[in-house]
Amino acid sequence: MEKNTSPVLEIRHMNISFLQYEKGFRQVELPVISDLNLTIEEGEMVAVVGSSGSGKSLLAHGVMGILPYNASMGGEMIYRGQPLTRKRIQKLRGNEIVMVPQSTSYLDPLMKVGQQICKGSRDEEKKKKLNQIFHRFSLEEKVQQQYPFELSGGMTRRIMISTALIENPRLVIADEPTPGLHLKMAKRAMEHFRQLADMGAGVLVITHDLELALETADKVVVFYAGHTIEEANASDFKEVSLLRHPYTRALWKAIPQNGFESIPGIQPYVKEMPKGCPFAPRCEKRTAECEGEIPYRKVRDGYVRCLYDA
Protein backbone atom coordinates (compact mmCIF):
# COMPACT_ATOMS: atom_id res chain seq x y z
CA MET A 1 0.00 0.00 0.00
CA GLU A 2 1.56 3.34 -1.00
CA LYS A 3 1.97 5.94 1.68
CA ASN A 4 -0.80 8.46 1.79
CA THR A 5 -0.80 11.13 4.43
CA SER A 6 -4.39 12.28 4.06
CA PRO A 7 -6.95 10.48 6.22
CA VAL A 8 -8.70 7.43 4.79
CA LEU A 9 -12.07 9.00 5.37
CA GLU A 10 -13.08 12.42 6.49
CA ILE A 11 -16.71 13.34 7.05
CA ARG A 12 -17.53 17.01 7.48
CA HIS A 13 -20.91 18.32 8.61
CA MET A 14 -22.83 15.33 7.35
CA ASN A 15 -26.56 15.47 7.77
CA ILE A 16 -29.17 12.97 6.68
CA SER A 17 -32.91 13.52 6.65
CA PHE A 18 -35.92 11.49 5.64
CA LEU A 19 -39.00 12.60 3.84
CA GLN A 20 -42.02 10.94 5.38
CA TYR A 21 -45.68 11.11 4.55
CA GLU A 22 -47.90 12.12 7.42
CA LYS A 23 -51.61 12.38 6.73
CA GLY A 24 -52.54 12.17 3.06
CA PHE A 25 -50.04 14.04 0.92
CA ARG A 26 -48.53 16.11 3.70
CA GLN A 27 -44.84 15.45 3.92
CA VAL A 28 -42.48 16.08 6.81
CA GLU A 29 -38.75 16.11 6.79
CA LEU A 30 -37.18 14.19 9.66
CA PRO A 31 -33.57 15.11 10.41
CA VAL A 32 -31.96 11.87 11.62
CA ILE A 33 -28.30 12.86 11.56
CA SER A 34 -27.15 16.43 12.14
CA ASP A 35 -23.69 17.90 11.74
CA LEU A 36 -21.67 14.72 11.95
CA ASN A 37 -17.89 15.06 11.89
CA LEU A 38 -15.54 12.12 11.80
CA THR A 39 -12.00 11.35 10.69
CA ILE A 40 -10.46 7.93 10.22
CA GLU A 41 -6.73 7.72 9.67
CA GLU A 42 -4.81 4.86 8.13
CA GLY A 43 -4.31 2.08 10.65
CA GLU A 44 -6.91 3.50 12.95
CA MET A 45 -9.96 1.80 14.39
CA VAL A 46 -12.77 4.17 15.26
CA ALA A 47 -15.87 3.03 17.13
CA VAL A 48 -19.14 4.90 16.80
CA VAL A 49 -21.16 4.16 19.91
CA GLY A 50 -24.78 5.07 20.47
CA SER A 51 -28.04 3.55 21.61
CA SER A 52 -30.51 2.02 19.23
CA GLY A 53 -32.47 4.60 17.30
CA SER A 54 -29.65 7.15 17.41
CA GLY A 55 -29.07 6.95 13.64
CA LYS A 56 -25.76 5.11 13.58
CA SER A 57 -26.67 2.64 10.82
CA LEU A 58 -27.57 5.49 8.50
CA LEU A 59 -24.04 6.78 8.80
CA ALA A 60 -22.76 3.53 7.26
CA HIS A 61 -25.41 3.57 4.56
CA GLY A 62 -24.62 7.20 3.82
CA VAL A 63 -20.94 6.50 3.25
CA MET A 64 -21.67 3.45 1.09
CA GLY A 65 -24.24 5.33 -0.98
CA ILE A 66 -27.07 2.92 -0.20
CA LEU A 67 -29.52 5.19 1.57
CA PRO A 68 -33.16 4.60 0.70
CA TYR A 69 -34.74 6.80 -2.01
CA ASN A 70 -36.61 9.04 0.43
CA ALA A 71 -33.44 10.07 2.27
CA SER A 72 -31.27 13.04 1.43
CA MET A 73 -27.76 13.70 2.56
CA GLY A 74 -25.72 16.88 2.90
CA GLY A 75 -22.17 17.70 3.90
CA GLU A 76 -18.84 16.50 2.62
CA MET A 77 -17.14 13.11 2.47
CA ILE A 78 -13.50 12.91 1.53
CA TYR A 79 -11.89 9.56 0.84
CA ARG A 80 -8.08 9.55 0.62
CA GLY A 81 -7.89 13.19 -0.30
CA GLN A 82 -10.62 13.20 -2.94
CA PRO A 83 -14.34 13.82 -2.58
CA LEU A 84 -16.29 10.57 -2.33
CA THR A 85 -18.83 11.08 -5.05
CA ARG A 86 -21.65 8.76 -5.99
CA LYS A 87 -19.73 7.54 -9.01
CA ARG A 88 -16.57 6.96 -7.02
CA ILE A 89 -18.22 4.97 -4.24
CA GLN A 90 -19.94 2.77 -6.79
CA LYS A 91 -16.54 1.86 -8.17
CA LEU A 92 -14.82 1.38 -4.81
CA ARG A 93 -17.39 -0.43 -2.72
CA GLY A 94 -16.95 -4.15 -2.54
CA ASN A 95 -13.18 -4.01 -3.01
CA GLU A 96 -11.43 -0.99 -1.49
CA ILE A 97 -14.32 -0.01 0.73
CA VAL A 98 -16.22 -2.86 2.32
CA MET A 99 -19.15 -2.97 4.68
CA VAL A 100 -20.38 -5.60 7.09
CA PRO A 101 -24.12 -4.96 7.30
CA GLN A 102 -26.18 -5.22 10.45
CA SER A 103 -29.11 -7.24 9.23
CA THR A 104 -28.53 -10.91 8.54
CA SER A 105 -30.89 -10.62 5.56
CA TYR A 106 -28.15 -9.07 3.42
CA LEU A 107 -26.86 -12.48 2.31
CA ASP A 108 -28.07 -13.93 -0.99
CA PRO A 109 -30.41 -16.77 0.01
CA LEU A 110 -29.79 -18.67 -3.26
CA MET A 111 -26.01 -18.75 -3.21
CA LYS A 112 -23.76 -21.08 -1.23
CA VAL A 113 -21.90 -19.12 1.40
CA GLY A 114 -18.40 -20.08 0.23
CA GLN A 115 -19.07 -18.77 -3.29
CA GLN A 116 -20.80 -15.76 -1.87
CA ILE A 117 -17.82 -14.73 0.23
CA CYS A 118 -15.45 -15.17 -2.73
CA LYS A 119 -17.96 -13.50 -5.06
CA GLY A 120 -17.90 -16.52 -7.35
CA SER A 121 -14.14 -16.37 -7.88
CA ARG A 122 -12.36 -19.72 -8.30
CA ASP A 123 -8.98 -18.25 -7.46
CA GLU A 124 -6.91 -20.72 -5.40
CA GLU A 125 -5.38 -17.94 -3.30
CA LYS A 126 -8.79 -16.77 -2.28
CA LYS A 127 -9.88 -20.29 -1.38
CA LYS A 128 -6.84 -20.68 0.84
CA LYS A 129 -7.59 -17.38 2.53
CA LEU A 130 -11.19 -18.42 3.03
CA ASN A 131 -10.12 -21.66 4.70
CA GLN A 132 -7.87 -19.68 7.03
CA ILE A 133 -10.68 -17.30 7.94
CA PHE A 134 -13.05 -20.20 8.56
CA HIS A 135 -10.48 -21.86 10.74
CA ARG A 136 -10.00 -18.74 12.85
CA PHE A 137 -13.76 -18.36 13.27
CA SER A 138 -14.21 -22.05 14.21
CA LEU A 139 -16.40 -22.65 11.18
CA GLU A 140 -16.25 -26.08 9.57
CA GLU A 141 -15.18 -26.23 5.96
CA LYS A 142 -18.40 -27.93 4.92
CA VAL A 143 -20.26 -24.73 5.85
CA GLN A 144 -18.90 -23.25 2.60
CA GLN A 145 -21.22 -25.59 0.71
CA GLN A 146 -24.29 -24.57 2.71
CA TYR A 147 -26.98 -21.99 2.01
CA PRO A 148 -27.70 -19.09 4.41
CA PHE A 149 -30.95 -20.65 5.69
CA GLU A 150 -28.97 -23.59 7.07
CA LEU A 151 -26.90 -21.40 9.37
CA SER A 152 -27.47 -20.32 12.96
CA GLY A 153 -27.53 -16.63 13.86
CA GLY A 154 -23.99 -16.64 15.17
CA MET A 155 -22.70 -18.46 12.07
CA THR A 156 -24.41 -15.98 9.73
CA ARG A 157 -22.75 -13.17 11.64
CA ARG A 158 -19.32 -14.75 11.18
CA ILE A 159 -19.99 -15.31 7.48
CA MET A 160 -20.83 -11.65 7.02
CA ILE A 161 -17.62 -10.61 8.75
CA SER A 162 -15.72 -13.01 6.47
CA THR A 163 -17.02 -11.18 3.39
CA ALA A 164 -15.04 -8.15 4.54
CA LEU A 165 -11.92 -10.04 5.61
CA ILE A 166 -11.48 -11.80 2.25
CA GLU A 167 -10.80 -8.52 0.43
CA ASN A 168 -7.80 -6.26 1.00
CA PRO A 169 -9.82 -3.24 1.98
CA ARG A 170 -8.57 0.25 2.75
CA LEU A 171 -11.73 1.18 4.55
CA VAL A 172 -13.94 -1.21 6.49
CA ILE A 173 -17.32 -0.18 7.85
CA ALA A 174 -18.89 -2.68 10.22
CA ASP A 175 -22.43 -2.00 11.31
CA GLU A 176 -23.22 -3.81 14.58
CA PRO A 177 -21.09 -6.81 13.67
CA THR A 178 -21.37 -8.66 16.98
CA PRO A 179 -24.93 -9.17 18.28
CA GLY A 180 -25.89 -12.82 18.61
CA LEU A 181 -22.26 -13.79 19.10
CA HIS A 182 -21.25 -14.89 22.54
CA LEU A 183 -18.60 -12.85 24.27
CA LYS A 184 -15.57 -14.88 23.21
CA MET A 185 -16.59 -14.87 19.55
CA ALA A 186 -17.51 -11.18 19.66
CA LYS A 187 -14.07 -10.36 21.02
CA ARG A 188 -12.45 -12.48 18.32
CA ALA A 189 -14.41 -10.65 15.64
CA MET A 190 -13.30 -7.30 17.02
CA GLU A 191 -9.71 -8.52 17.04
CA HIS A 192 -10.01 -9.30 13.32
CA PHE A 193 -11.08 -5.75 12.63
CA ARG A 194 -8.18 -4.62 14.76
CA GLN A 195 -5.82 -6.71 12.61
CA LEU A 196 -7.20 -5.10 9.46
CA ALA A 197 -6.44 -1.73 10.99
CA ASP A 198 -2.96 -2.81 12.03
CA MET A 199 -2.37 -3.83 8.40
CA GLY A 200 -3.08 -0.25 7.37
CA ALA A 201 -6.80 -0.06 6.71
CA GLY A 202 -9.13 2.45 8.30
CA VAL A 203 -11.83 0.70 10.31
CA LEU A 204 -15.13 2.14 11.44
CA VAL A 205 -17.12 -0.05 13.81
CA ILE A 206 -20.65 0.99 14.64
CA THR A 207 -21.91 -0.57 17.85
CA HIS A 208 -24.05 -0.09 20.93
CA ASP A 209 -21.60 -2.11 23.02
CA LEU A 210 -19.27 0.44 24.56
CA GLU A 211 -17.38 -2.07 26.69
CA LEU A 212 -16.51 -4.22 23.69
CA ALA A 213 -15.53 -1.19 21.62
CA LEU A 214 -13.15 0.05 24.30
CA GLU A 215 -11.15 -3.15 24.22
CA THR A 216 -10.01 -2.76 20.63
CA ALA A 217 -10.73 0.71 19.23
CA ASP A 218 -8.36 3.68 19.24
CA LYS A 219 -11.00 6.36 19.19
CA VAL A 220 -14.61 6.40 20.31
CA VAL A 221 -17.22 8.70 18.82
CA VAL A 222 -20.36 8.96 20.95
CA PHE A 223 -23.63 9.38 19.14
CA TYR A 224 -26.78 10.68 20.76
CA ALA A 225 -30.06 11.37 18.96
CA GLY A 226 -28.32 11.87 15.62
CA HIS A 227 -25.58 14.16 16.94
CA THR A 228 -21.94 13.36 17.54
CA ILE A 229 -21.58 14.64 21.08
CA GLU A 230 -18.05 13.54 21.86
CA GLU A 231 -14.92 12.16 20.31
CA ALA A 232 -12.54 10.63 22.82
CA ASN A 233 -9.51 8.37 22.89
CA ALA A 234 -10.37 4.90 24.12
CA SER A 235 -7.91 5.46 26.98
CA ASP A 236 -10.01 8.41 28.23
CA PHE A 237 -12.58 5.88 29.40
CA LYS A 238 -10.18 4.61 32.07
CA GLU A 239 -11.23 7.51 34.23
CA VAL A 240 -14.51 9.38 34.24
CA SER A 241 -12.86 12.75 34.77
CA LEU A 242 -11.13 12.48 31.39
CA LEU A 243 -14.46 12.31 29.57
CA ARG A 244 -15.95 15.49 28.19
CA HIS A 245 -19.71 15.23 27.78
CA PRO A 246 -22.29 14.63 30.57
CA TYR A 247 -23.92 11.86 28.50
CA THR A 248 -20.63 10.02 28.03
CA ARG A 249 -20.02 10.27 31.76
CA ALA A 250 -23.48 8.86 32.43
CA LEU A 251 -22.69 5.97 30.06
CA TRP A 252 -19.47 5.31 31.93
CA LYS A 253 -21.21 5.30 35.30
CA ALA A 254 -23.84 2.87 34.00
CA ILE A 255 -21.24 0.16 33.34
CA PRO A 256 -21.85 -2.50 36.03
CA GLN A 257 -18.26 -2.39 37.30
CA ASN A 258 -18.35 1.41 37.51
CA GLY A 259 -21.38 1.68 39.76
CA PHE A 260 -24.33 0.61 37.57
CA GLU A 261 -25.93 4.03 38.03
CA SER A 262 -28.72 5.19 35.78
CA ILE A 263 -30.12 8.57 34.85
CA PRO A 264 -33.83 9.11 34.19
CA GLY A 265 -35.34 9.87 30.81
CA ILE A 266 -34.92 8.57 27.28
CA GLN A 267 -33.28 9.65 24.07
CA PRO A 268 -35.64 12.07 22.28
CA TYR A 269 -37.59 10.85 19.26
CA VAL A 270 -36.73 12.57 15.95
CA LYS A 271 -40.13 14.19 15.75
CA GLU A 272 -39.79 15.69 19.23
CA MET A 273 -36.19 16.80 19.09
CA PRO A 274 -35.47 19.61 21.55
CA LYS A 275 -33.85 22.79 20.30
CA GLY A 276 -30.11 23.02 20.71
CA CYS A 277 -28.51 20.28 22.78
CA PRO A 278 -30.40 16.97 22.39
CA PHE A 279 -29.28 15.83 25.84
CA ALA A 280 -30.38 19.00 27.66
CA PRO A 281 -33.72 17.61 28.96
CA ARG A 282 -31.81 14.91 30.87
CA CYS A 283 -28.85 17.06 31.87
CA GLU A 284 -28.32 18.37 35.38
CA LYS A 285 -26.23 21.28 34.21
CA ARG A 286 -28.56 22.66 31.53
CA THR A 287 -29.17 26.38 31.30
CA ALA A 288 -31.17 28.57 28.95
CA GLU A 289 -28.17 28.78 26.62
CA CYS A 290 -28.40 25.04 25.92
CA GLU A 291 -31.36 25.76 23.63
CA GLY A 292 -29.12 27.65 21.25
CA GLU A 293 -26.53 26.47 18.77
CA ILE A 294 -23.97 24.19 20.41
CA PRO A 295 -20.57 24.17 18.69
CA TYR A 296 -18.49 20.98 18.32
CA ARG A 297 -15.26 22.11 19.86
CA LYS A 298 -11.85 20.68 20.49
CA VAL A 299 -11.02 19.83 24.09
CA ARG A 300 -7.97 17.89 25.27
CA ASP A 301 -7.16 15.96 22.10
CA GLY A 302 -10.82 15.19 21.50
CA TYR A 303 -14.08 16.93 20.68
CA VAL A 304 -17.22 17.75 22.61
CA ARG A 305 -20.57 19.30 21.79
CA CYS A 306 -21.38 20.96 25.09
CA LEU A 307 -21.16 24.52 26.34
CA TYR A 308 -20.04 23.71 29.84
CA ASP A 309 -18.40 20.39 30.45
CA ALA A 310 -14.88 19.78 29.38
Binding site: G50, S51, S52, H182, H208, L251, P256, F260, I263, Q267
Partner: protein, 205 residues
Protein backbone atom coordinates in the same frame (compact mmCIF):
# COMPACT_ATOMS: atom_id res chain seq x y z
CA UNK B 1 -43.47 -19.69 47.18
CA UNK B 2 -40.95 -21.85 45.43
CA UNK B 3 -40.24 -22.69 41.81
CA UNK B 4 -38.45 -25.98 41.52
CA UNK B 5 -36.96 -28.00 38.71
CA UNK B 6 -36.49 -31.59 39.84
CA UNK B 7 -34.09 -33.79 37.90
CA UNK B 8 -35.16 -32.49 34.52
CA UNK B 9 -33.73 -33.78 31.25
CA UNK B 10 -34.32 -32.48 27.77
CA UNK B 11 -33.41 -33.01 24.13
CA UNK B 12 -35.05 -31.47 21.08
CA UNK B 13 -35.06 -34.59 18.90
CA UNK B 14 -34.55 -38.26 19.57
CA UNK B 15 -30.88 -39.27 19.30
CA UNK B 16 -29.80 -35.63 19.37
CA UNK B 17 -27.65 -34.15 22.11
CA UNK B 18 -29.03 -34.17 25.65
CA UNK B 19 -29.26 -30.46 26.44
CA UNK B 20 -30.13 -30.89 30.09
CA UNK B 21 -29.49 -34.00 32.15
CA UNK B 22 -30.97 -34.49 35.62
CA UNK B 23 -30.82 -30.79 36.29
CA UNK B 24 -32.30 -29.44 39.52
CA UNK B 25 -32.69 -25.93 40.83
CA UNK B 26 -34.85 -24.16 43.38
CA UNK B 27 -35.89 -20.52 43.23
CA UNK B 28 -37.54 -18.86 46.23
CA UNK B 29 -39.75 -15.78 46.02
CA UNK B 30 -37.03 -13.64 47.51
CA UNK B 31 -34.25 -15.01 45.29
CA UNK B 32 -32.59 -13.29 42.37
CA UNK B 33 -30.53 -16.03 40.79
CA UNK B 34 -28.08 -15.47 37.97
CA UNK B 35 -27.20 -18.35 35.66
CA UNK B 36 -23.71 -18.29 34.19
CA UNK B 37 -22.81 -20.64 31.34
CA UNK B 38 -21.11 -20.55 27.97
CA UNK B 39 -23.24 -20.33 24.86
CA UNK B 40 -24.90 -23.59 23.85
CA UNK B 41 -25.33 -24.80 27.40
CA UNK B 42 -29.11 -24.75 27.22
CA UNK B 43 -29.84 -21.61 29.19
CA UNK B 44 -32.68 -20.51 26.93
CA UNK B 45 -34.02 -24.06 26.81
CA UNK B 46 -34.03 -24.20 30.60
CA UNK B 47 -36.01 -20.95 30.77
CA UNK B 48 -38.51 -22.28 28.24
CA UNK B 49 -39.03 -25.43 30.30
CA UNK B 50 -39.41 -23.52 33.57
CA UNK B 51 -42.00 -21.21 31.97
CA UNK B 52 -43.93 -24.12 30.50
CA UNK B 53 -43.19 -23.49 26.82
CA UNK B 54 -41.46 -26.88 26.57
CA UNK B 55 -42.07 -30.04 28.55
CA UNK B 56 -39.08 -31.86 30.01
CA UNK B 57 -38.48 -35.44 28.86
CA UNK B 58 -37.76 -36.54 32.39
CA UNK B 59 -38.25 -34.89 35.76
CA UNK B 60 -40.74 -32.20 36.65
CA UNK B 61 -41.26 -28.50 37.19
CA UNK B 62 -43.11 -27.63 40.39
CA UNK B 63 -44.53 -24.40 41.78
CA UNK B 64 -45.18 -24.77 45.50
CA UNK B 65 -45.00 -28.52 45.12
CA UNK B 66 -47.69 -28.65 42.42
CA UNK B 67 -46.75 -29.46 38.83
CA UNK B 68 -46.64 -26.36 36.64
CA UNK B 69 -48.75 -28.10 33.98
CA UNK B 70 -51.61 -28.40 36.48
CA UNK B 71 -51.97 -24.64 36.89
CA UNK B 72 -54.94 -23.34 34.91
CA UNK B 73 -55.33 -19.85 33.51
CA UNK B 74 -52.51 -17.34 33.87
CA UNK B 75 -49.14 -19.02 34.31
CA UNK B 76 -47.41 -17.95 37.53
CA UNK B 77 -44.03 -18.29 35.80
CA UNK B 78 -43.45 -15.70 33.08
CA UNK B 79 -40.54 -15.21 30.73
CA UNK B 80 -38.93 -12.15 29.12
CA UNK B 81 -37.31 -13.00 25.80
CA UNK B 82 -33.99 -11.91 24.38
CA UNK B 83 -35.38 -10.39 21.17
CA UNK B 84 -38.30 -8.06 21.87
CA UNK B 85 -38.86 -7.41 18.15
CA UNK B 86 -39.58 -11.12 17.70
CA UNK B 87 -41.98 -11.35 20.60
CA UNK B 88 -44.52 -8.70 19.61
CA UNK B 89 -47.05 -8.76 16.78
CA UNK B 90 -45.71 -6.39 14.09
CA UNK B 91 -49.23 -5.56 12.87
CA UNK B 92 -50.65 -4.42 16.18
CA UNK B 93 -49.97 -1.20 18.03
CA UNK B 94 -47.80 -1.27 21.16
CA UNK B 95 -50.90 -0.77 23.32
CA UNK B 96 -51.85 -4.37 22.44
CA UNK B 97 -48.64 -5.68 24.01
CA UNK B 98 -49.68 -4.33 27.40
CA UNK B 99 -53.23 -5.59 26.90
CA UNK B 100 -51.89 -9.11 26.33
CA UNK B 101 -50.64 -9.06 29.93
CA UNK B 102 -52.78 -9.92 32.92
CA UNK B 103 -54.14 -6.57 34.21
CA UNK B 104 -50.85 -4.75 34.16
CA UNK B 105 -50.86 -2.02 36.79
CA UNK B 106 -50.34 1.53 35.45
CA UNK B 107 -47.55 1.96 38.00
CA UNK B 108 -45.56 -0.70 36.11
CA UNK B 109 -46.00 1.15 32.83
CA UNK B 110 -44.92 4.40 34.49
CA UNK B 111 -42.04 2.80 36.35
CA UNK B 112 -40.59 1.49 33.10
CA UNK B 113 -40.69 4.96 31.58
CA UNK B 114 -43.18 4.03 28.87
CA UNK B 115 -44.66 7.22 27.44
CA UNK B 116 -48.33 7.55 26.53
CA UNK B 117 -47.44 8.46 22.95
CA UNK B 118 -45.61 5.16 22.33
CA UNK B 119 -48.83 3.22 22.88
CA UNK B 120 -50.16 4.28 19.47
CA UNK B 121 -47.03 3.36 17.55
CA UNK B 122 -46.34 0.16 15.69
CA UNK B 123 -43.33 -2.00 16.64
CA UNK B 124 -41.43 -0.75 13.57
CA UNK B 125 -41.73 2.81 14.84
CA UNK B 126 -39.96 2.40 18.18
CA UNK B 127 -36.47 1.38 19.19
CA UNK B 128 -35.42 -1.95 20.66
CA UNK B 129 -34.96 -0.45 24.11
CA UNK B 130 -38.44 1.01 24.09
CA UNK B 131 -39.91 -2.27 22.87
CA UNK B 132 -38.19 -4.28 25.58
CA UNK B 133 -39.84 -2.02 28.18
CA UNK B 134 -43.23 -3.06 26.80
CA UNK B 135 -42.28 -6.73 26.87
CA UNK B 136 -41.26 -6.40 30.52
CA UNK B 137 -44.48 -4.59 31.44
CA UNK B 138 -46.48 -7.37 29.74
CA UNK B 139 -45.15 -10.07 32.08
CA UNK B 140 -45.57 -8.03 35.26
CA UNK B 141 -49.34 -8.41 35.44
CA UNK B 142 -51.28 -9.78 38.38
CA UNK B 143 -50.48 -13.36 39.23
CA UNK B 144 -46.83 -13.36 38.18
CA UNK B 145 -44.87 -15.11 40.91
CA UNK B 146 -41.65 -15.95 39.10
CA UNK B 147 -39.85 -14.13 36.34
CA UNK B 148 -37.29 -15.56 33.93
CA UNK B 149 -35.08 -13.06 32.14
CA UNK B 150 -33.11 -14.48 29.20
CA UNK B 151 -30.40 -12.02 28.08
CA UNK B 152 -32.93 -9.20 28.21
CA UNK B 153 -30.52 -6.29 28.08
CA UNK B 154 -27.82 -7.26 25.57
CA UNK B 155 -29.26 -5.07 22.82
CA UNK B 156 -29.69 -2.04 25.04
CA UNK B 157 -27.33 0.81 25.71
CA UNK B 158 -25.76 0.93 29.15
CA UNK B 159 -28.03 3.60 30.60
CA UNK B 160 -31.22 1.88 29.47
CA UNK B 161 -29.85 -1.42 30.77
CA UNK B 162 -29.24 0.09 34.16
CA UNK B 163 -32.65 1.82 34.23
CA UNK B 164 -34.51 -1.38 33.44
CA UNK B 165 -32.62 -3.51 35.94
CA UNK B 166 -33.08 -1.03 38.76
CA UNK B 167 -36.80 -1.08 38.11
CA UNK B 168 -36.94 -4.89 37.97
CA UNK B 169 -34.97 -5.32 41.19
CA UNK B 170 -37.28 -2.96 43.05
CA UNK B 171 -40.49 -4.36 41.59
CA UNK B 172 -39.61 -8.03 42.21
CA UNK B 173 -38.46 -7.22 45.74
CA UNK B 174 -41.65 -5.35 46.56
CA UNK B 175 -43.98 -7.96 45.10
CA UNK B 176 -41.89 -10.96 46.23
CA UNK B 177 -41.43 -12.24 42.71
CA UNK B 178 -38.60 -14.74 42.34
CA UNK B 179 -36.19 -13.90 39.54
CA UNK B 180 -33.98 -16.16 37.47
CA UNK B 181 -31.75 -14.36 35.03
CA UNK B 182 -29.38 -15.38 32.28
CA UNK B 183 -26.67 -13.13 30.91
CA UNK B 184 -23.25 -13.45 29.34
CA UNK B 185 -22.06 -10.57 31.52
CA UNK B 186 -21.00 -11.85 34.90
CA UNK B 187 -20.37 -8.30 36.07
CA UNK B 188 -24.01 -7.45 35.39
CA UNK B 189 -25.25 -10.55 37.22
CA UNK B 190 -23.10 -9.70 40.22
CA UNK B 191 -24.86 -6.33 40.46
CA UNK B 192 -28.37 -7.68 39.91
CA UNK B 193 -28.48 -11.04 41.65
CA UNK B 194 -28.39 -12.35 45.19
CA UNK B 195 -26.82 -15.65 44.09
CA UNK B 196 -24.95 -16.90 41.03
CA UNK B 197 -25.05 -20.46 39.70
CA UNK B 198 -22.32 -21.73 37.39
CA UNK B 199 -23.85 -24.37 35.13
CA UNK B 200 -20.52 -25.65 33.85
CA UNK B 201 -19.14 -26.56 37.26
CA UNK B 202 -22.53 -26.93 38.96
CA UNK B 203 -21.44 -24.66 41.78
CA UNK B 204 -22.94 -21.64 43.55
CA UNK B 205 -21.07 -18.38 43.83
Amino acid sequence: MMLEAREISFQYEKNSRMILENFSIQVESTDRIGLVAPSGFGKTTLCKILAGYERPLGGEVLVDGKALSEYRGYCPVQMIWQHPEQSVNPRRRMRAVIEEGNQVDPSVVDGLGIEADWMNRFPAEISGGEMQRFCIARVLGEGTRFLLADEISTMLDLITQSQIWHFLIEETQRRKIGLLTVSHSEELLKKVCTKLYYLETKTWG
